[in-house]
Amino acid sequence: MIKSNNPKERVDILHHFNIFNYNSPLDRWCWLLRNVEYDDVISRYNNPILIYQGGQRIVFKVTDPEFGTVALKIGCYRTPQNPDGWDIERIEREIGILRQIESSYFPKNFKFEKISNDRYLILEEFIESVPLSHCMDKFQEPNNILILIKYLVTGLEIIWNKNIVHRDLKPDNILIPSNGIPKIIDLGIARSLDSTTITRHLAAGPCTPFYAAPELLRYDRKLIDKRTDQYNLGIILVQLLLKGTHPFDPTLVGGQSIPYNILSDNWYRKIFDDPQFSKMGSIASTLLGFQQYQRFRTSEMLLNEINSCLRLYP
């Protein structure tokens, strides 16, 4: 039993004894981290600050002579576990979308290149922020919540207008900077509705099941459209009203699990019996429409509804 949770130390121990438990997320991550070499890249920068160590990549805050303060991401796109290198497709898709977008709602991409040893390097706008998942308590008042949703719709409208669906909007993928205008990240599984191809990985059904619309959980490809992202917005909206509790959580509404409840259209509607929130019930219920036609047909209709509701919550 390895007790150390210090990543660097844990990696060294695991490798030394070659005792990875691949069912353990932490151990899997440790394997990958060990295999993502980064010293050769960060040695080009003064005072790199490690800001994130994820499953397949490592992120530093660095000062780039050309772009200023940026996020430097280094990852490994082909591993023994993924010999086909599916991850690069996901990354290239994200970069491709970000380069089409010039918006304050999405991080700017400055550079992307494949480098030696099956690695990639990304230079991206550095955003001083906290993920929404870590600051839900800041959104207490209905009008603050509505304004956040309005910002998110305004941001998403940019990709929707390009016929792209995010497909993985969740509090972890929404960064809240100090000015309160959110940044939407992780377009890795976003998909162009014009695209006729889809990766093998995606065909298995991408998305975070706790925030996925029913059609995404069923992976009913023909039904996935711009309205699919509205469902995630609906969950986030109600989750904020519930002070962080997921509206499909079995502890609130019964059922076996959150995905099971999503597929059963079983969510905590009673929140809107509370007079404080009742005026938001129509927006939430429409966003969480089980069928797409029960959601807002256009982003314009959704924004109009939010604006009308905001007038009720001055």
């Binding site: 036609y293 047909r297 209709m301």
Partner: protein, 396 residues
């Protein structure tokens, strides 16, 4: 939401045009190529065409009836020697280009994208894929290529089997509400078998729900080929209700587009629309009713054509103009009355009309006037209205 009243043109379409002009019985017309050749459509005045909807009627690509031969966009005109499905797909762009050109040239109110009629209930994915491939994609691509800004309406033919199946309509609604660029649906339904008045509460309720779903999506809904059920359907907030589909020649059935209109025409008994019954009665009943307690002309719909028809010397057939023009006035009067109110108030008005008609039939029965099972449609209508109202939270 208020609605407009359109005449569904067909056999004797001149009578409708006259009625709108002389008696103000409608806001516009839906033009039928099956009944009016291309040169005759082009000759219509600009004021009519500007408000008119052109129904391309490409529901059965293999058949081209007489008047339709004068149009150049029918598959059978483009490929007179016949075609297979693959060829049809190739030529669907040509069909789209010609059909759009005709509609734009005549400056009709909307640009209607036609779709095909499918019998029964084909698998929904197949239905959608075929409609997209053969019609919607070529039409939308052509519109984009030409840079047209005209408001577009999608025509949809649905059978009773389709409309009554919730899973099927969910799929259809997901599909049509996701088509970018269209602002509404021109919906034509076929219920088979059916009587002149629809006696199927489930069908009517499903149609109300379907229409209301489109309304909630802020889409225009044009309900084509309606008899007096237009009164009931008004509670689901359609944009345009049609009048004029009351006889065998006029009630929609896909076979109408396989046989020439002339072959369908029989000479039925002279009938009169009785607004208080929301139904048509054979003329001989009228004579008896007049002698009994139903003396007031209001019962029969008092207008200038009734006066002519009640004249003892009047000997007419269904080919006479008066019963039709009488109907247009009375039907449009009823519709105009209920369009001034909305939602729950409209529902209550419609219920009153239906209840009143039920009473009317009871009175006929009590007076020894046996009209058979006429009036049997009313419980179906009331059931559909009440079930719909319950879901809307209007109370029953």
């Amino acid at each position: 939401m208020t609605f407009e009243i359109y005449h569904q043109l067909g056999h004797r379409d001149v009578w409708s045009l006259q009625s709108i002009d002389e008696d103000q019985t409608g806001d516009g017309v839906i033009i039928s190529p099956r009944s009016r050749s291309m040169p005759r459509v082009e000759k219509l005045g600009d004021s009519i065409k500007r408000k008119a909807i052109f129904d391309p009627q490409i529901l059965n690509p293999k058949v081209v009836l007489k008047n339709m031969e004068s149009y150049d966009f029918y598959p059978g005109c483009i490929l007179p020697a016949g075609f297979d499905t693959d060829e049809y797909i190739v030529d669907s762009t040509l069909i789209a280009e010609r059909c759009i050109d005709f509609q734009v040239r005549n400056n009709f109110r909307f640009l209607v994208i036609p779709t095909r009629f499918y019998q029964g209930m084909p698998p929904v994915d197949e239905f959608i894929e075929n409609q997209n491939q053969q019609s919607i994609t070529p039409f939308l691509s052509t519109v984009k290529k030409l840079g047209l800004k005209k408001e577009m309406i999608l025509q949809l033919f649905l059978t009773g089997h389709m409309i009554k199946n919730k899973e099927y309509t969910d799929n259809l609604l997901n599909w049509i509400t996701g088509i970018e660029g269209i602002s509404g649906i021109y919906l034509v339904t076929e219920l088979h078998p059916r009587q002149k008045q629809i006696r199927d509460a489930e069908f009517l309720l499903s149609l109300l729900n379907f229409t209301n779903s489109l309304y909630k999506n802020k889409m225009k809904t044009i309900l084509g080929y309606l008899n007096s059920e237009s009164l009931l359907l008004s509670i689901a907030n359609p944009s345009i209700l049609t009048i004029g589909s009351y006889g065998n020649v006029r009630i929609f059935h896909h076979s109408m587009f396989e046989i020439s209109e002339k072959d369908l025409i029989q000479i039925p008994n002279l009938q009169i629309y009785v607004p208080t019954l929301i139904d048509w009665l054979d003329y001989p009943y009228i004579e008896i009713m007049k002698r009994k307690t139903f003396k007031s002309p209001i019962f029969f719909g008092d207008n200038k054509y009734l006066t002519k028809m009640l004249n003892p010397g009047y000997r007419g057939t269904a080919h006479n103009i008066e019963p039709h023009k009488h109907y247009y006035i009375e039907m449009s009067k009823q519709l105009r009355q209920i369009r001034t109110v909305e939602n729950q108030n409209r529902y209550q008005e419609v219920c009153k009309i239906i209840e009143s008609a039920k009473q009317g039939f009871s009175q006929l029965d009590e007076a020894g006037i046996d009209v058979g099972d006429k009036g049997a449609f009313l419980p179906h209508w009331l059931t559909a209205a009440k079930q719909f109202a319950e879901v809307q939270g209007w109370g029953v």
